[in-house]
Symmetry: C2
Subunit: 387 residues, 2 copies
């Protein structure tokens, strides 16, 4: 086990009707003026927006607002938010939505007090101070509600890039599983896949002596698998939605990676598919993870066999362990397709001729991979397998 | 799943040599004068005390100190600490030790700024403010390093009582598994049993729809079981010591109980054995847990069968599920005895004639039990089974 430090300062407020407390919660921290940041207006149609405005009003909190965040949030919206936040002199940002809205809020929070360009934080700078954020979560997927991460797409150059700073962890995360009832099946499926991918990127570690976190990862993954069909078939099943939402937060708050190396190749390669073609994040993962596994597993067959035996209940083949892996990858693909997601790049209308360019961009900040370092050529080969 | 709130504000600093950072860490929070609180001098013999004093000195932090904390920490030592802390005007308490030292430190931290008697916080009062504490952990067991709990014994009346306040969570916990190398086998075994008991008290919940935390509990327990013999046989095995230390913290920081009801009957009944006879906490649990299970399991055979099948790998008997439980309890007792611990009250030299008095005291603050409420007579019966 490697040395580590960990602090998760986000207060989790979980359960039915918890969003109605938001005004009281923000007042308890002493904030006065809040920028409400949200997506394309779904929260207005469901009545959630009205509930929030009412709660904030009752607590005597002033508001400004900026909607319009799109999936794979873009820098131009972030810049609008920074401008508005400064003009309105907000001291807090309330993200109402999923990962895109939260990531956009984190970017705005970093940008408001900063004299330079906020994109600096996605290239090489560390923020000295930020406007803090809180979350009302409506999509279980990205885990951004308790994570230090934010991913933004710079439209100028199709660059999708992540940043991770402790100061970006939200002050609180209000998580009411009922708010995810109206999430369409495709987004629900992509969310489950994203949550599981956050765990898998940590599970496939080059560090061997990490039993506790191995087993925690396995538990989160098995919980996702056993509740996935239920949230697809019964979107208003509270308990299943609650398990997935709870799992989504633990999957990406950093705890499951403690003492380990992490992988993140499938995520980074998937980001390029999104940057080039606007593909939904979760579906880039259902395509990339099996392809990555097929290319990589021989470097650590035991680890992949353990994964598929423990998580996907593939019987271990003691004489030909590799068979455990191959059956497992097939089972993983079946699981993804059972959720209605694609597992091949060709089905996402991706152009083979771009693989070389995508590989180059994915490797631009240093070679990907921990189990084994991957050259651009390796990444092209993985894209080809995924095709 | 029940609604819940959760915040774990303790910064975990985990790994080799991390204790050498303690001066820097305390300085980073701005504290100036620290009360070093510890046990019976073991840390002086190992050189740890000197390392700490050196690190604090290099960081320019002033110190006062109070050693002498005994297992099952007593109120009289807490009162000494409060007096000393006031006289020396300390603004921080550094607990160097295991659960007893940390619990005593939490009590001192509550007592210093309080005008009344610190025992009030163990009966009915809530602290308005506290002197914050940090921890250098030397025993993996109580989980007090990241918990809100403190248990103190009032010598006047042999009352061992717990209190739980969010403000008692340590600011940081430095966890270097190497510091547990010198822990004798008996304390090591008691620690493992205590850690597992903290998880089991949460696992046996009356709430059914708690899959994620069920699986996390199972993972922590399996990690303890698989490393228990190693830490007994190879006290300087870093990886095994690290797994147990990491598990001890997660076992009791509250996360595993989120959304659940909890049980705590075995703990409370064990506290009375300690209060009456000075028995070691861990060994009261190896005695009480099997007895409690034997008396209770018929109220929820499915839950106990699931526990023994998933955690102790007892094959599930589909036609007679009860057999799974009975074989499981026998396996649990064998596990405890394999660690050198007793599983019968008679072997702890407990007097049968005190059962009625002990039961009355254990139930004094409301009837114990969530799976089923237990009268004093039920508790006597459980003590009898344990005898």
């Amino acid at each position: 086990m490697r040395n580590f430090e960990f602090l998760s300062p986000t207060k989790i407020i979980f359960g039915k009707n918890t969003h109605e407390q938001v005004g009281e919660v923000i007042r308890s921290y002493g904030y006065k003026k809040v920028l409400i940041h949200y997506g394309k207006g779904h929260i207005k149609r469901t009545g959630l927006y009205d509930n929030i405005v009412e709660s904030l009003g009752q607590a005597g909190i002033q508001t400004a607002e900026l909607g319009g965040v799109q999936p794979n949030p873009v820098l131009s919206t972030v810049r609008k938010g920074i401008e508005l936040g400064r003009k309105e002199n907000v001291d807090f940002i309330l993200a109402v939505g999923g990962g895109s809205v939260i990531d956009s809020s984190k970017a705005i929070g970093m940008g408001i007090p900063y004299k330079g360009d906020v994109w600096d934080f996605y290239t090489d700078k560390t923020p000295a101070k930020t406007v803090p954020i809180g979350v009302i979560l409506t999509i279980a997927a990205a885990g951004s509600e308790t994570s230090k991460n934010t991913v933004i797409t710079n439209e100028d150059g199709l660059i999708k890039r992540g940043a991770a700073f402790e100061c970006n962890r939200p002050v609180f995360a209000i998580m009411n599983p009922e708010l995810t009832y109206t999430l369409p099946p495709y987004q629900t499926a992509c969310g489950v896949v994203d949550i599981m991918a956050h765990v898998m990127e940590r599970y496939f570690s080059a560090e061997r002596n990490v039993e506790l976190t191995d087993r925690l990862c396995e538990g989160v993954l098995k919980t996702c698998i056993s509740n996935a069909q239920t949230v697809m078939n019964e979107p208003e099943n509270y308990n299943a939605r609650a398990e997935i939402m709870f799992a989504g937060s633990l999957a990406h708050n950093g705890y499951l990676g403690l003492g380990r190396t992490e992988e993140w190749v499938s995520h980074r390669m998937g980001h390029e598919i999104t940057a080039f073609y606007g593909a939904t994040h979760g579906e880039t993962l259902s395509v990339m993870f099996p392809a990555w596994m097929k290319y990589i597993y021989k470097h650590d067959t035991a680890l992949f066999a353990k994964f598929f035996n423990r998580v996907f209940d593939v019987e271990y083949d003691f004489f030909e362990p590799e068979n455990t892996v191959l059956r497992g990858i097939a089972k993983l693909e079946s699981f993804y397709t059972s959720l209605g997601l694609k597992v091949r790049l060709r089905d996402l209308n991706v152009d083979e001729n771009q693989f070389s360019e995508m590989a180059k961009k994915a490797n631009a900040r240093g070679k990907l991979g921990n189990i084994v370092k991957l050259d651009d050529d390796d990444l092209v080969r993985i894209y080809e397998i995924a095709y």
